[in-house]
């Protein structure tokens, strides 16, 4: 796996800056307006690892869709390296909450999707193999998605994103379905990959501990419509230790912000 990491890391793509400026968004549900994001501003520096935490249904996935360029915000603007985001671009790759692998393609072909769509697959097949190695699924290259477990499908979705060498990697609870052991391994892989390649990472998670182990910065959202409730720097060197009292302290603080002080 480490060899594979080094391989993938040779294609250099440094991170991009991401500016989310006073973004508000709303959906129309049966004529009524449902406000989902309310004046959200986040300035992400190149190569930063930002975790987004918030109650379920507050609008995190919606924000990620705006970052990806799949939807346009009702108000405000989003910019990647000072260029306004108006449509999807492979420099910003999203790992969706649902793996959404293409059931008619094998694992290998699923991972190859981005390179194929950009018309560079022929000369870059090795990258697909490396990405599969990275998530430990080389032996399943010819399997179809329905032959995979939920966690394996998520790892394929991760490989499908990584193979594109994104400048901004957008992750929507990508480790949600993994068992705790694989999850910890994948977290470590993610950190080391991010450190080697230097892409900017935006990670949505429900797990405060995961956010603290991985990110430079944790942003806590309010209930819907989501506002930025807290923006917490995590100045700790990697690899981080789960038992670190500094992190435990931050964790208590974050859970408090999410309204969980009574149970904690």
């Amino acid at each position: 796996m480490v060899a594979a990491l080094a391989e993938v890391a040779t294609h250099h793509a440094a991170g991009a800056a991401l500016d989310i400026e006073q973004v508000s968004h709303a959906f129309d549900i049966d004529g009524a307006e449902l406000p989902v994001l309310s004046d959200v501003s986040i300035a992400v520096e190149p190569g930063e690892f930002v975790a987004l935490l918030g109650p379920s249904g507050c609008g995190k996935s919606t924000l990620l869709r705006l970052v990806a360029g799949l939807d346009k915000p009702k108000a405000g603007s989003l910019r990647e390296d000072e260029i306004r985001i108006v449509r999807p671009h492979p420099s910003r790759v999203v790992v969706f909450q649902d793996p959404t692998l293409f059931p008619w393609r094998t694992v290998w072909d699923n991972v190859a999707l981005g390179l194929e769509a950009q018309g560079i697959l022929k000369s870059q097949r090795q990258r697909v193999d490396d990405a599969l190695d990275l998530v430990g699924l080389s032996s399943f290259r010819n399997a179809y998605p329905q032959q995979l477990s939920g966690g394996m499908a998520q790892r394929v979705a991760l490989a499908r994103a990584l193979v594109n060498d994104p400048k901004i990697l957008v992750l929507d609870e990508p480790l949600g379905k993994l068992d705790s052991l694989t999850r910890i391994t994948m977290q470590a892989e993610l950190v080391s990959l991010w450190q080697r390649k230097g892409f900017t990472t935006l990670l949505v998670t429900h797990d405060a501990e995961e956010a603290l182990v991985l990110a430079n910065r944790v942003i806590v959202f309010s209930e819907r419509p989501a506002r930025v409730k807290a923006d917490i720097r995590v100045d700790r060197p990697y690899p981080r230790h789960r038992g670190d009292p500094y992190l435990a302290d931050l964790r208590r603080q974050i859970l408090g912000l999410l309204g969980l002080d009574a149970t904690w």
Partner: protein, 302 residues
């Protein structure tokens, strides 16, 4: 197995004006002997033996049916003769009327294949365009709704005098019968593709052509095959009717002709061939589907 019943056939000469009785007897004996040998030796025959053993109950029923048929027609003449010929009379058709029968098969296959391929292609392309483009949908949807449900046979009279030949008219009608279900199902297949697939492809840098060719079409393919299957059934019906009414060739015409001459054995013979052809066509379609849709599980086995 049914050997006991069959052995006696060679000696049945009651209706001695029937030729081929002797060859039928020999054929029955050979088949029975093969079945007997296969059943006894199944353990030594590997795959073939197992396949044979699995089908043994059917072989017995078939043997019993043939024997009853033989006894009821050729031996005791319980069934009125011109309408219910004995098996040997049907074999006689296959040997004596072979050239004409082959010509008919060839004509039918040619007509069917041409019409079906045109109809399926046009239907598929129309379905994809309607499912994909709002503008195309706006113009084609009402036309489809108005014309599609009309049975293609209703066009028969018009088609036969507007088209230069009955052959081209029939091709058009078969294409029409095929095209409607293929169009509707392809369209519904494309329309029902989950938006999440497009989102994934777009964030990975896919252009519109990629979205159509590599996302919409593969995702819609299971529906397309349902349409192709339904179109096949509809086009068979049209083929036979067209051949009976206008085209002076093909199995439908052969049936009609045989009826005109009260040649009932020929009719049954042609029916059997037709059934084998139609079943074969569906088997072929399912084989193609199984190849293209290996990723689907639990598909119907034909």
């Amino acid at each position: 197995m049914a050997t006991g019943f069959r052995r006696g056939r060679g000696r049945q000469r009651r209706l001695d004006r029937l030729s081929r009785t002797h060859s039928l007897g020999i054929a029955a004996f050979v088949i029975a002997a093969t079945a007997l040998f296969g059943t006894v030796g199944a353990d030594y025959l590997g795959y073939t033996g197992r396949a044979l053993r699995q089908r043994a109950p059917w072989l017995i029923v078939l043997g019993v049916f043939l024997t009853l048929w033989e006894v009821a027609t050729a031996k005791f003449a319980w069934l009125p003769l011109p309408f219910f010929p004995p098996p040997q009379a049907i074999i006689e058709v296959y040997t004596d009327d072979l050239p004409k029968l082959l010509d008919s098969v060839f004509a039918s296959v040619k007509l069917q294949l041409g019409g079906y391929i045109i109809g399926a292609t046009v239907g598929f392309l129309t379905g994809v365009s309607i499912g994909w483009s709002r503008a195309v949908g706006y113009w084609l949807h009402p036309v489809l709704r108005f014309i599609g449900p009309l049975p293609a046979t209703a066009w028969l009279p018009i088609a036969f005098f507007t088209f230069p030949s009955s052959w081209s008219a029939s091709t058009f009608l078969i294409a029409l019968a095929t095209g409607f279900p293929v169009t509707v199902l392809t369209w519904s297949g494309v329309a029902s593709v989950s938006g999440a697939y497009y989102d994934v492809a777009r964030t990975l840098g896919a252009k519109p052509s990629f979205l159509v060719l590599k996302v919409a079409i593969p995702a819609a393919l299971p529906h397309v095959f349902v349409g192709l299957f339904m179109g096949l059934g509809a086009s068979f019906a049209l083929l036979v009717i067209a051949e009976m009414i206008g085209v002076k060739a093909g199995l439908g015409w052969y049936l009609q002709w045989a009826q005109g001459w009260a040649a009932y054995a020929n009719m049954y013979a042609a029916l059997i061939v037709m059934s084998l052809l139609c079943s074969g066509a569906i088997t072929l379609l399912f084989a193609v589907r199984d190849r293209l849709l290996v990723w689907q599980k639990g598909t119907v086995k034909w």
